[in-house]
């Protein structure tokens, strides 16, 4: 019941801004009139999946304050998306290039980051249930995902984002998209998709692949590159988009184009700046959080320091806490870790919800936050929600000894 309510709320919320737009779509072509309800329907479906996924996660891991923010971000992202693509907005974008630019920016700089922040992909995926994901896994999607995980994926997203954005704002491709409705749909879809991929990396919890500093550079350089066409439009003395050469709404073609460049350059730039500030603050907040965590596990680690102080050079393996790896493997099967993770050596552990645990023994960080040491692994396994509130991994109710055994097994995955 509750799930249905959430679904309904989300759907209505996303429809609200579109309603007036639907009311007076005079002058819109039959194609666009048909397209918008289709888009609304699609959004409705995605919202439903999202709500289902959201509820599933809550059942598994309980609620955290971050979850509501995520849902709110998702809903507003969807609302912005629909508002930006509503027929009335489309109609204005047909006349004014600056309006069209504002529409694109609403997609890539507002809707996409909100959806990414709401973890739309993950939760809608969870909403699909297991079967489709298993099929996707069989089709080799997982392999693709794993290859793209971390740095290669981040670079790919960066280039896709900047490249797609630049491509569609070249006079040629821009003109094609105006002449052909399918191309126009493709334009908007590819802008949104590449932006989603980009922001998913930029706003994700820090992974070992892309730390905070790297993400600052990631966003900063994208800001420069994708603002580049804007700077050129500001400095261009004549319009170079044939469809908008006449201008409109009291603006000449050149002025309209300059305005578009400025919308891109300044309000657009502020979005990037805001994202950079957010990452920087998150960096600081995490440093604080780690200091707090460190305090909690103070005594055990002091002991290690003492050992080191005596100059006892020992191999890393000797230092790991005692735990039975074989017992751990059994516990992993019992607990059902494989439902969410790919775990080498465990049959049936092919889950796609959490990160694959291949070579986890060699990773630098746990959850992108804790140093990957045996004791931190135990802490994490016993209560992941205490360390990263609102993350997708549920509290499993493991005892200290059980957690130690599992950690011992995971440590062998090198």
């Amino acid at each position: 019941m509750r799930r249905l309510t959430t679904l309904w709320l989300l759907a209505t919320a996303s429809l609200l801004p579109a309603a007036p737009a639907l009311a007076h779509d005079s002058g819109a072509t039959p194609e666009t009139i048909g397209a918008f309800p289709a888009l609304v329907g699609l959004s409705f479906m995605i919202a439903g999946l999202y709500a289902t996924g959201w509820a599933r996660r809550r059942r598994a891991a309980g609620t955290a304050p971050g979850h509501r923010t995520q849902a709110a971000a998702f809903a507003s992202g969807l609302a912005v998306l629909l508002a930006a693509l509503a027929p009335a907005a489309d109609e204005m974008a047909d006349t004014l290039f600056s309006a069209h630019m504002a529409q694109h920016l609403a997609l890539v700089l507002i809707a996409a980051p909100l959806l990414a922040f709401g973890r739309a992909g993950l939760l809608a995926g969870m909403g699909l249930g297991r079967a489709p994901r298993r099929i996707a896994g069989r089709l080799g999607f997982e392999r693709v995902r794993r290859t793209c995980h971390g740095m290669p994926g981040a670079l790919l997203a960066w280039f896709a984002f900047c490249g797609v954005f630049a491509f569609w704002h070249l006079p040629g491709p821009y003109g094609w998209s105006l002449r052909s409705f399918p191309l126009h749909v493709l334009e908007h879809a590819s802008l949104l998709a590449s932006a989603y991929a980009f922001w998913a990396v930029a706003l994700a919890r820090p992974s070992a692949a892309l730390g905070h500093g790297a993400r600052l550079a990631y966003v900063g350089t994208a800001a420069v590159v994708s603002s580049f066409p804007g700077a050129l439009m500001i400095l261009a003395p004549r319009p170079f988009y044939a469809a908008h050469a006449q201008g409109g709404w009291g603006l000449t073609g050149a002025e309209d184009q300059q305005l578009a460049g400025l919308v891109m350059w300044i309000p657009g730039g502020l979005v990037y700046l805001g994202a950079m500030c957010w990452i920087l603050l998150a960096w600081f907040a995490e440093a604080e959080r780690r200091a707090r965590l460190a305090r909690a596990s103070l005594p055990a680690i002091s002991l290690l320091l003492l050992l080191a102080a005596q100059g006892q050079a020992r191999a890393a393996g000797d230092n790991s806490m005692p735990g039975d790896a074989r017992q751990g493997a059994r516990l992993i099967v019992e607990t059902g870790c494989g439902a969410c993770h790919v775990i080498p050596g465990i049959t049936g552990a092919t889950g796609l919800v959490g990160p694959p645990l291949k070579q986890i023994g060699r990773r630098v960080f746990l959850a992108g936050l804790l140093r990957n040491s045996p004791e931190n692994m135990v802490t994490w396994l016993r209560d992941p929600q205490a360390i990263v509130p609102g993350n997708a991994m549920p509290r499993l109710g493991l005892s200290e000894a059980q957690a130690r055994d599992i950690a011992a097994y995971l440590a062998t995955l090198r």
């Binding site: 500001i234 305005l259 603050l281 440093a287 080191a308």
Partner: protein
Amino acid sequence: MAVTGYERVLHVEEQGYSTEHARRLEEMWESKPGLRGFLSSVDHKEIGIRYLVTAFGFLIVGGVEALIMRVQLARPNQALLTPEQYDQLFSMHGITMIFLYALPVLSGFSNYLFPLVLGARDMAFPRLNAYSYWIYLASGIFMYASLVMGLAPNDGWFSYVPYALKAYNPGPNLDFYALGMVFYGISTTVGSVNFVVTFLRMRAPGMSINRVPILTWGTLTASVGNLFAVPSVSLAFLMMWTDRQFGTHFFTQDSGGQPLLWQHLFWMFAHPWVYVVVLPAMGLVSDALPFFCRRPLVGYTVVVLATVTTMVLGFGVWLHHMFATGLPFIALSFFSAASFVITIPSAVAVFAWIATIWTGRPVITTAFLFFAGFIAMFVVGGVSGVMTAAVPVDRQLTDTYFVVAHIHYVLIGINLFAVMGALYVWLPKMTGRLLSERLGRWNFWTVLIGFNLGFFPMHILGLMGMPRRVYTYEADLGWGTLNLVTSAGSFLLAIGILLLLVNIAMSLSNGVPAGDNPWDAPTLEWATPSPPPPYNFPVVPMVASRHPLWEERLGETEAGHSELLRGPLLADGKEALATSGLDAQPEAILKMPEDSYAPFVVTLAMSVGFTGLLLHEWWVAGAGGLGVLAGALVWLWPEASLGQKAEREA
């Protein structure tokens, strides 16, 4: 000597500065005596001091140029200088102060202080550090060679085309500048790379990202800014040089060139550059002001955020130097708005300093006075900047003496005041002797009064319509009196700076010994002797708070206690610890290079190359290039002692 292995466990011990261990470290890290040591040293402290001395040398030369110009302008229709001489002087004055003084002096402080405040033994790339200094010196000499020959650049520091092109400027004057700036850009770039990597990799264990001193944030931000800004100016100058020498058409008005492209490329660089030469200085103040207010800085996080934000915004507003170039009004209005917005982060810093003073218990030392003066001058430069952000007003103000006043309040107010204050704070660390406080008072007040007397009237001269860069003016324009006042003020300012030099000289000869920590300051450099030994720290310090030397008194020990004399020894040859970027966890043991002649030799070869380009002696340039290649190859050749080569089984 150097024992390497693929990995080892850190050996932790308690060690002081006078133990056998320290003596061994000293032996390893010390530079050779005499000229050999001078040419080969890679010690960051040595290099930092060289930067400071050289930058002050250029400050004095640039200052003398300014004084000569002020004599010429003191009265109407004077003929002390010919127009050509005047043009060369004002151009060299700008080039000197902006490029050869303002950034290098801050690089000097950063070089000296980075490893010390971060708890490291040296910079990330010690040889690159020496290299960046040598290039700076060589490019400075390269550009100054022109003045000696009377062929100095004569088109101002922003060198607008087409006046800078061969058609209007046939002599080699602008070639010196163009090639000199490309040359100089190398120094800035490699220096910036070094600061960035040092910041990310060389922090003491436990010095997480929210515990580093603000001065390193300032320098980091400026260095990242440099990495993105300097290519623009190097490229622009290269294009200018090819336009002049090979008949390319980037900036000519015929064959499709665009004079305005020069302005875009130049200001895309030069606006961020303004922040490059003030952010590290602001960082110095943010760190040192709290020493004298007896409390930590208010709002550490927001100040860091403001620093970064300023730099990022700084890249978006270059067009506000071009409000009068006939750009469309729509563009002007947006850029005007953005230029207003950029003052907000500066306001954050100003109010953080005021709050620190207001809620602290100020100890009024000379350094404090300079910092307090700095805040006031900062605000004068800031608000005059805001006035120029308003397009309609700027179309009157720009290119008048108002802008001259503004740039001097920014560069002297925010850079020189901070630098002088910082000298009073950190020179005792470098030399081991305090500066005289009594002479310091004289120094401060002479500088403050001289500066304001010399530069405040320039605002009014600007409002009275005096354009900048005029070699003389007519009596009936009514600018005589204020120009006389300005000239008098500039001489008073010069006396003030002379007093500083006198103070330094007296301190060197018989100053009061400073002790380790004369200001009872909280950061790591004050835990070392003054001057610090070549290895900086006998053990790698481990940090548990933002203020290691204050944490007990502030009760900020909930995260543990900093350990300054008990930690990893790292004495298996010249070694340093690489730590992770976020929370400074040890990641690797780095092998640090020995002293090396390579940086000096490569610089020498480069100087030969650039001279060849200047003289069109292509074979000389080619020989220089080959020399650079050979030097680089020797430099980069993998060495077993640096852990760059596979181990051979013993």
